[in-house]
């Protein structure tokens, strides 16, 4: 049976976070076609319920525990060792919350225009899949959710997208499937080699396989590579990124929001969970390669973003650069880097969807996203421009807004253990300012030209959709501690796991010389005069 029974008596929200949108999708599909408003309502309620559960999970979560919590461990297909295994730790926690927040907003903020019923149904399927990916602790289950996600995304782009949508949807689907094929081979090989190495029964249990570490070094490295390929496509990592600008640009706004906010994190999350955790030694071995690709992505993505003529493509390429920071943090293989990377997944999942919403609203008003067609919008819609500015500054990584903290920690972590990569990657902060401010100037500054004159100010409903995102942007920039302290135990456990299985790290950062004395500044300052040279 598929039904999951929570371990213990306490209510376990994890399965419900998957079931509720899945059932919601069924309900929407069964609704009469004419009731468009009802479809939207049901979809929103289902997504919001799942989201509320994710926020409830925040409360339930034990912040001091670095292991998996709310674990469900039921065998699904016993003969193959495949199980319905779920669990959450500090790394997946906020990705769940992120999905829980973004889906209701995406459903509420934009209307598809046609075929509403199937649109909402697909969005809910997508939500169930995303939630499933982040809680799956079984390799096959993870793979299943990872693939399920493709189908609704394919239809969302193909049916409600813009421009050459069918070509783009197909490209997206095939490209990702291509990566997944390698992952599937990797997963199967992992299970069989694990059985061989450990002498135990065949199992796809992630925790067991990761703890045993019974796969030989060479084989593990090959398997890591095959899995990494799938995640690299999904992330996307240079040079496997070209499906992303196309898919982002042609997807409907809600699709872009989810694509940027949640789907890209499937790749980076995969790197953490099924790369570092499953194959620590191989991750260590290939870290220089991935760090390099991450840094290239940061610089290259920024430069290509600068030259785009379509505003949505600028934002799309900015994702390539931002995801580069995340990869950089992950493969710094230290606490700062991984904490920063997870936080940056959340941050990118807030600011980039917000940018896509704003660009989508520009498109609704002007029916174009060509930067050259837009000019002086700030004069026509100052509040709209102000919100865009805040979100953009978050994307640039301005301290005080959320983007900075994550970016800073990934760079700090990289500098500690991969110094020169960190130094080069830090130049991304210059380029980010360059391409975003340039785009902003061309769109919002300058004279208010005739076709832009009637540009409508932000409406109430748009404001309501943006409000939680902007609030999170400011809150996480000023007070990221609640998030960081929940990520930290899991990040520490992961780093310890990597260190344990791949040899010692560089010497750690020294403790500050004298943290205690208050008056030290003055006394020492004047006392040192003689020997100051």
């Amino acid at each position: 049976m598929l039904a999951a029974e929570a371990v213990g008596t306490a209510f376990n929200p994890l399965p419900w976070m998957i079931f509720v949108p899945a059932v919601g999708a069924l309900c929407v599909a069964l609704l009469p076609k004419a009731r468009v408003d009802l479809a939207k309502l049901v979809a929103f309620v289902a997504a919001a319920c799942s989201g509320a559960l994710s926020i409830h999970l925040l409360n339930l979560f034990d912040r001091g525990d670095g292991g998996f919590q709310y674990v469900v461990n039921n065998l699904w297909i016993p003969s193959w060792g495949i199980g319905w295994r779920l669990g959450v730790d500090g790394i997946s926690l906020f990705l769940l919350v992120l999905s829980g927040v973004l889906f209701p907003i995406a459903i509420a903020a934009v209307n598809p225009g046609h075929d509403d019923k199937s649109y909402y149904a697909w969005l809910l399927v997508l939500m169930a899949g995303c939630m499933g990916v982040f809680v799956a602790l079984d390799l096959v289950l993870f793979f299943a959710f990872f693939e399920i996600v493709l189908v609704p995304m394919y239809f969302l782009i193909g049916m409600w997208g813009h421009g050459d949508r069918i070509h783009v949807a197909t490209k997206f689907f095939l490209y990702t499937m291509f990566g997944s094929a390698f992952m599937l081979v990797g997963i199967v090989a992992t299970a069989f080699l694990h059985r061989q190495g450990s002498g135990g029964p065949l199992t796809f249990n992630l925790v067991t396989i990761a703890t045993d570490q019974s796969i030989g070094t060479a084989a593990a490295r090959w398997i890591f590579l095959s899995m990494a390929l799938a995640f690299a496509v999904k992330t996307p990592l240079f040079p496997l990124h070209t499906w992303l600008p196309d898919a982002h640009t042609e997807a409907p706004t809600a699709g872009s929001v989810i694509l940027a906010g949640v789907l890209l994190k499937l790749g980076t999350y995969g790197f953490v969970r099924f790369g570092l955790y499953l194959f620590p030694e191989a991750a260590r071995f290939f870290a220089p390669l991935l760090l390099t690709l991450g840094v290239v992505g940061i610089v290259y993505g920024a430069i290509v973003a600068a030259m785009q003529k379509d505003l949505k493509r600028v934002v799309a390429y900015s994702s390539v650069a931002h995801l580069g920071f995340i990869i950089l943090g992950i493969f710094a293989l230290n606490v700062q880097g991984i904490e920063g990377a997870v936080l940056q997944m959340v941050n990118h999942g807030i600011s980039t969807p917000a940018l896509f919403l704003l660009v989508g609203w520009i498109y609704e008003r002007r029916h174009t996203r060509e930067i050259a067609e837009l000019s002086g919008l700030q004069a026509a819609a100052p509040i709209f421009a102000g919100v865009f500015m805040v979100v953009m500054l978050s994307s640039i990584g301005l301290p005080g807004l959320n983007g900075f903290v994550g970016e800073f920690l990934t760079l700090l972590g990289a500098f500690k253990d991969a110094r020169w990569w960190g130094v080069v990657a830090a130049s991304g902060v210059i380029l980010a300012a360059l391409y975003l401010l340039w785009a902003y100037q061309r769109v919002f500054h300058g004279p208010l030209t005739e076709p832009n004159r009637g540009f409508r100010e932000m409406s109430w409903s748009e404001g309501v959709a943006m409000a939680p995102l902007v609030a999170l942007i400011v809150f996480l920039g000023v007070y990221p501690k609640p998030v960081l302290e929940r990520i930290e135990p899991a990040a520490k456990a992961l780093v310890a796991h990597v260190v344990e299985h791949s040899g010692a790290m560089r010497p750690d950062i020294p403790a500050p010389a004298a943290a205690s004395e208050e008056g030290a500044v003055g006394t020492d300052g004047s006392g040192v005069v003689g020997g100051g040279g």
């Binding site: 297909i77 003969s79 193959w80 693939e147 189908v151 394919y154 193909g158 197909t170 095939l174 094929a181 599937l184 199967v188 040079p239 290259y300 430069i303 290509v304 030259m307 700062q336 904490e339 002086g376 301290p399 900075f404 903290v405 920690l409 760079l411 700090l412 500098f415 500690k416 830090a426 902060v429 210059i430 300012a433 360059l434 401010l437 340039w438 100037q441 500054h445 300058g446 004279p447 208010l448 007070y479 960081l484 302290e485 930290e488 750690d508 950062i509 020294p510 403790a511 500050p512 010389a513 208050e518 008056g519 030290a520 500044v521 003055g522 020492d524 300052g525 004047s526 040192v528 100051g532």
Partner: protein, 658 residues
């Protein structure tokens, strides 16, 4: 007192938030008064902290307050912490003091602007960021302020954003500053890896402890922080954004681009003086960057005709003096000149704003003349500022500039050369400021001879072309134009700043140890004492400094009043074009830089994506050959793919288990 530190930044924050919500409703002028009063309030709190510190023992003048943990990540932990010590309180006093006066002035200057309340919203946000910058007790909080002031600078430079050139100037300032920020970030990372913390107290303790940071690491750190400072404080080679920043409204130029923000690089270096003490050649780099900037910028200022551009290059040049002071280890003089410069340069900018506002927003000094007759208060206060910056005793600038130059002299060796460079720059300063005062306030009323069109002067064309105008309004100067004096709300700050520029020197007079108040006050935050020249050497240097100022002024009078020499002889083309530095950057960015970026985008589109599409095309061609059942329908096509995917999965699953 310590638990009230948060109030200093909190007041402008409250002002900012209020204006975000209610700004439009409050409107002109209440929004301005609100913003002014929050900054004034911060000044009062700072003054209370100042008095509190004074009452304490010399060595325990130090208050800290940590509001909450900002970024905790493993063994990296940074609090939202404030530190009030003699250095930061000095900074806060003049930031809030001068800031409040400029806010007040802006109420008059910005009257009638359609975005009046938004202007003050940005101004309050700026003061908040600036206070975070100087009050932060660690590098990261300082960086928060550092970036915050950069963002505000961007907002305010492009405040009149419908003009494309203003928008470009704002973007240029932000991006150029980000180059410096790269240095700041890497320096922060390096500090953490060697100190284990980014708190100033830990850095100080490390440097005073058993194993201080020395050698290559210390030098590298200082150079990286210097990169940061050259961006923010507009030094060679990153100074190009500051002249363009004059596109912002004049109060912004006074507050951000003269008195406060641009000095933050110097503040950072002085704050890290225990680190600088351990560095060797990196200090010389600081000093020579400062010397080169002081000289180059002064030569450029000689050939500018836009009243604000002269002051902009003058600011760059004066900031160069501050770097000379820092690089020679003369940190007290750096802070001293920073404060007096804040007084007289804010005064000069506000004075120029008063002129501009009353000359129909024409900024070309060649259209001015004899304005002392129409604007007596503006003229009188501007003259005070002129004498102060030119280095005429007893005006404040004389004392502080002299201390920098005599300090460079005292270091001896190669620094004699630096001292000479400084003297030449000082001479040029006196010269170009004399030129400005003469062209603006004396001589004939040149706008009377303008063609009716306003700006038909042939030679004016070139200047107009690249000058950023203070307002999007077009020049309305006609021969019949009658200038008037500014209202009291603008002249009161002028008078107050003039008084400060006049007497500011008393805070650190070189006569006896008892008159060096600032030096004693800052002693607890400085790791080493600086040995100034004394006795006959000191007096000789003083005489030379006065002589240089007098010669500069006389030369200026000789050229622009007596017309002994044609101005063209002095105003070289290469100066007018700012040594072609900015132009060559622009040419590079627009030429090879742009081409490289374009090539990269082409590569992405055609090579990387081309390979992908090529592979796809191949696959689909071979697919077509087999499958002739293509329906052309999205649904069917996609459904087929989904089913196919499921089949692949099913295949593997079945093969595996049985």
């Amino acid at each position: 007192m310590s638990d009230l530190l948060w109030l200093i930044p909190a007041l402008p924050l409250a002002g900012f938030l209020t204006l975000v919500v209610l700004g439009r409703r409050l409107g002109d002028p209440i929004a301005g008064w609100l913003a002014t009063s929050t900054v004034g309030g911060s000044f009062l709190v700072t003054a209370a902290v100042f008095v509190d510190l004074l009452s304490k023992d010399h060595e325990s003048r130090r208050l800290t307050q940590t509001l909450f943990t900002w970024v905790p990540a493993g063994n990296f932990e940074v609090g939202m912490g404030f530190l009030a010590d003699p250095l930061s309180v000095t900074m806060c006093l003049f930031i809030c003091g001068v800031g409040a006066l400029i806010h007040l002035y802006a109420i008059g200057y910005m009257r009638g602007d359609e975005n009046f309340s938004k202007f003050f919203l940005y101004l309050n946000l700026f003061v908040l960021s600036m206070l975070m910058l100087v009050l932060g007790d660690n590098l990261l909080v300082t960086f928060l302020g550092w970036e915050g002031v950069g963002a505000c600078s961007y907002f305010l430079i492009s405040f009149w954003h419908t003009d494309e050139s203003n928008a470009s100037a704002g973007k240029k300032a932000f991006v150029t500053n980000r180059i410096g920020d790269w240095g700041y970030m890497v320096a922060m990372f390096l500090t953490w890896t060697v100190v284990g913390s980014v708190n100033y107290s830990d850095i100080v303790a490390t440097q005073a402890g058993a194993s201080p940071i020395v050698g290559v690491t210390a030098n590298m750190l200082v150079v990286l922080f210097l990169v940061a400072a050259t961006g923010k404080s507009a030094q060679l080679p990153l100074f190009v954004w500051l002249p363009d920043a004059m596109a912002g409204p004049t109060p912004v130029s006074a507050l951000i681009h003269a008195a406060t923000m641009v000095t933050s690089g110097v503040y950072l270096l002085v704050r890290l003086n225990p680190l600088l003490e351990s560095a060797t050649w990196a200090n010389d780099v600081i000093a020579w960057v400062g010397g080169a900037t002081a000289l180059v910028a002064a030569t450029i200022a000689v050939s500018q005709n836009d009243i604000k551009k002269v002051l902009a290059y003058s600011t760059v040049s004066q900031l160069g003096f501050l770097f000379i002071a820092v690089g020679t280890g003369n940190h007290v003089a750096a802070i001293f000149h920073m404060v007096t410069h804040a007084f007289f340069k804010a005064l000069l900018f506000l004075g120029s704003g008063s002129v501009i506002a009353n000359m129909a927003h024409d900024q070309d000094m060649r259209h001015y003349g004899n304005l002392r007759r129409y604007m007596p208060i503006t003229a009188a206060t501007f003259i005070v500022g002129w004498l102060a910056i030119a280095g005429v005793p007893p005006f404040s600038g004389f004392w502080s500039k002299d201390e920098i130059l005599s300090g460079a002299f005292a270091r001896g060796g190669a620094f004699y050369g630096l001292w000479v460079v400084g003297l030449v720059a000082a001479l040029l300063t006196a010269f170009y400021m004399t030129r400005q005062v003469v062209m603006t306030f004396f001589g004939e009323e040149k706008w009377r001879s303008l063609d009716a069109g306003g700006d038909a002067h042939e030679d004016a064309e070139a200047a107009h072309h690249d000058d950023a105008h203070d307002d999007h309004a077009h020049h309305g100067l006609t021969p019949g134009f009658e200038p008037t004096e500014s209202p009291w709300i603008m002249t009161v700050p002028l008078v107050a700043l003039a008084a400060l520029a006049l007497v500011g020197g008393v805070m650190n007079l070189p006569f006896t140890s008892g008159t060096k108040f600032l030096e004693h006050w800052l002693e607890p935050v400085l790791a080493a004492e600086f040995h100034h020249p004394h006795g006959a050497t000191l007096w000789a240097l003083v005489v030379i400094a006065i002589a240089v100022a007098v010669v500069g002024i006389l030369a200026g009078l000789g050229v622009y009043v007596r017309r002994r020499v044609e101005p063209d002889v002095v105003e070289k083309d290469v100066f007018a074009h700012a040594w072609y530095i900015d132009e060559s950057y622009a040419r590079f960015a627009g030429g090879p830089g742009r081409k490289a970026f374009d090539a990269m985008a082409w590569f992405d589109r055609n090579v990387i994506d081309g390979a992908v599409n090529g592979a796809g095309w191949l696959a689909s061609r071979s697919g077509d050959a087999i499958r002739r059942l293509q329906s052309g329908q999205v649904r069917g096509y996609a459904l087929g793919m989904a089913v196919g995917a499921a089949l692949v999965l099913g295949y593997f699953v079945t093969r595996m288990g049985f």
